[in-house]
């Protein structure tokens, strides 16, 4: 038995792959920014909000963390229109990814906030900082710094998870691979190449975030 692999037939369709990579990275970037913001708000809400807010955030976090991303995506894309909210595939993908990352990062950021030494809070209080100031300037930066590796991993998990968004015809990388294999029937080669690109992306996104975090998010400024 001979196996013939024709990678060139797949690579010849490189414009599709490039578009796919842009969509994957774009979706990831948008959901990372909004997702982290929501996660931080939720972490704050679950730690120091009123009881009803803690309850709401707790339910949100547990519901998302204990259901598969693909079901969340289908619920947003197929379920919400039935309830009267019409969404494009791209918008549905972003919403699902943001909601997903928000829940996971809430737990991660909360772990960082919980690790704040009590003396820091007392020092902030003795400087007459308000609660918001204390949170933004004293608690949050070191907390983010502590959990940044975990957040980086979570962002990469969400990026890899976005491969599912191709199922609702968002034109990201896995969608491109599917499209190529439906044109030239080189399924195995198309998915090998897409997988290799994903591996490259996750390695470089990790490197980028490791560089970005300390520089712009929690280091340097103070």
């Amino acid at each position: 038995m001979r196996i013939e692999l024709d990678f060139l037939a797949v690579l010849a369709q490189w414009p599709l792959l490039v578009t796919g990579v842009f969509w994957t990275l774009g979706l990831t970037a948008i959901s990372a920014v909004i997702g982290l913001a929501i996660g931080t708000l939720c972490a704050w809400g679950r730690n120091s909000g009123p009881t009803w807010l803690r309850w709401v955030v707790g339910t949100y976090v547990e519901l998302i963390r204990n259901t598969p991303f693909i079901v969340q995506l289908f619920f947003v894309f197929f379920g919400l229109p039935a309830a009267g909210v019409k969404l494009t595939p791209e918008l549905a993908s972003v919403i699902a990814m943001v909601v997903n990352l928000g829940a996971y990062s809430a737990e991660i950021v909360r772990a960082g906030i919980d690790a704040t030494p009590k003396g820091q809070l007392e020092a902030a209080a003795s400087l007459a900082l308000s609660r918001t100031q204390t949170f933004l300037h004293v608690v949050l930066p070191p907390a983010l710094k502590k959990v940044w590796p975990a957040l980086t991993s979570q962002i990469i998990i969400v990026m890899l998870g976005s491969a599912v968004c191709g199922q609702i015809s968002t034109e990201e990388l896995s969608y491109a691979a599917n499209l190529i294999q439906s044109r030239n029937f080189r399924a195995f080669e198309a998915f090998i190449i897409a997988t290799a690109i994903y591996l490259l992306l996750s390695i470089s996104v990790r490197a980028l975030l490791n560089w970005l975090g300390p520089r712009y998010l929690f280091g340097g400024r103070r």
């Binding site: 519901l63 963390r65 693909i70 197929f78 309830a83 491969a163 896995s174 691979a177 994903y198």
Partner: protein, 216 residues
């Protein structure tokens, strides 16, 4: 046209949930065995084991599970093996699970103090005896909580098998949606069933973790 009552929807989803559970167990047990093998190879410092296992882990953790499923589905067929969605899903999820478990367990073995190895050595235990009687029992105690926690990720991972046509909970949801045109209700039920499967496991993992910290 057949009318679906809520009970019809729930009943059919519950029937499909059996396959989600079956696939999760296969992946978890298979992944556990492969993971253990890789762990031993790495701990025993077999030649090249270290970089190979590290590469294996990077490969499976750095690529989407969906792509791994597609590769198993089309790749096995390429080697002349008659692939059903069952085989492809079982193979891909087993390998995926093993890559995560070997990484979790490596940390647990590393957490056993160096002195324990040395003490076992000084008692003239062979490598396999050191591992079997001294290190693994201690590492297992640390490993249980994160391993149970990872089971949740395996259950959620099986949802992706729906994409290659394996009829489990998610795929059943899609099929029922196509018949009833009630996506909001059906996917809501699907999500709640996953929640009912995963949440108790999450809680149990958390309790184990707390217990370990108290005892530790």
């Amino acid at each position: 046209m057949v009318d679906f009552t809520l009970w019809d929807i729930v009943r059919n989803l519950l029937l499909a949930a059996r396959w989600t559970i079956a696939l999760s167990l296969i992946a978890f047990i298979g992944g556990g065995l492969v993971g253990l093998l890789l762990l031993v190879a790495r701990t025993a410092r077999w030649p090249l084991a270290e970089p190979l296992v590290a590469g294996y882990v990077q490969l499976f953790q750095g690529t989407p599970l969906l792509m791994q499923l597609f590769l198993a589905y089309f790749g096995l067929a390429l080697f002349g093996i008659d692939t059903s969605a069952w085989t492809a899903a079982a193979v891909a999820l087993t390998l995926y699970t093993s890559a995560f478990l070997v990484e979790i367990w490596r940390g647990c073995v590393a957490a056993v103090p160096r002195g324990q190895w040395e003490a076992a050595q000084s008692l003239a235990l062979s490598f396999s005896e050191q591992l079997r009687y001294v290190v693994l029992p201690q590492a297992t105690r640390i490993a249980i909580a994160p391993t149970v926690g990872f089971l949740v990720q395996v259950v959620k991972g099986t949802a992706l098998a729906s994409v290659i046509g394996f009829v489990e909970l998610t795929k059943a949801g899609t099929m029922i949606t196509n018949a009833t045109f009630q996506p909001f209700l059906v996917y809501g039920c699907v999500a709640l069933m996953y929640f009912a499967l995963c949440f108790p496991v999450s809680l149990y993992a958390r309790r184990l973790e707390r217990k370990l910290h108290v005892a530790g």
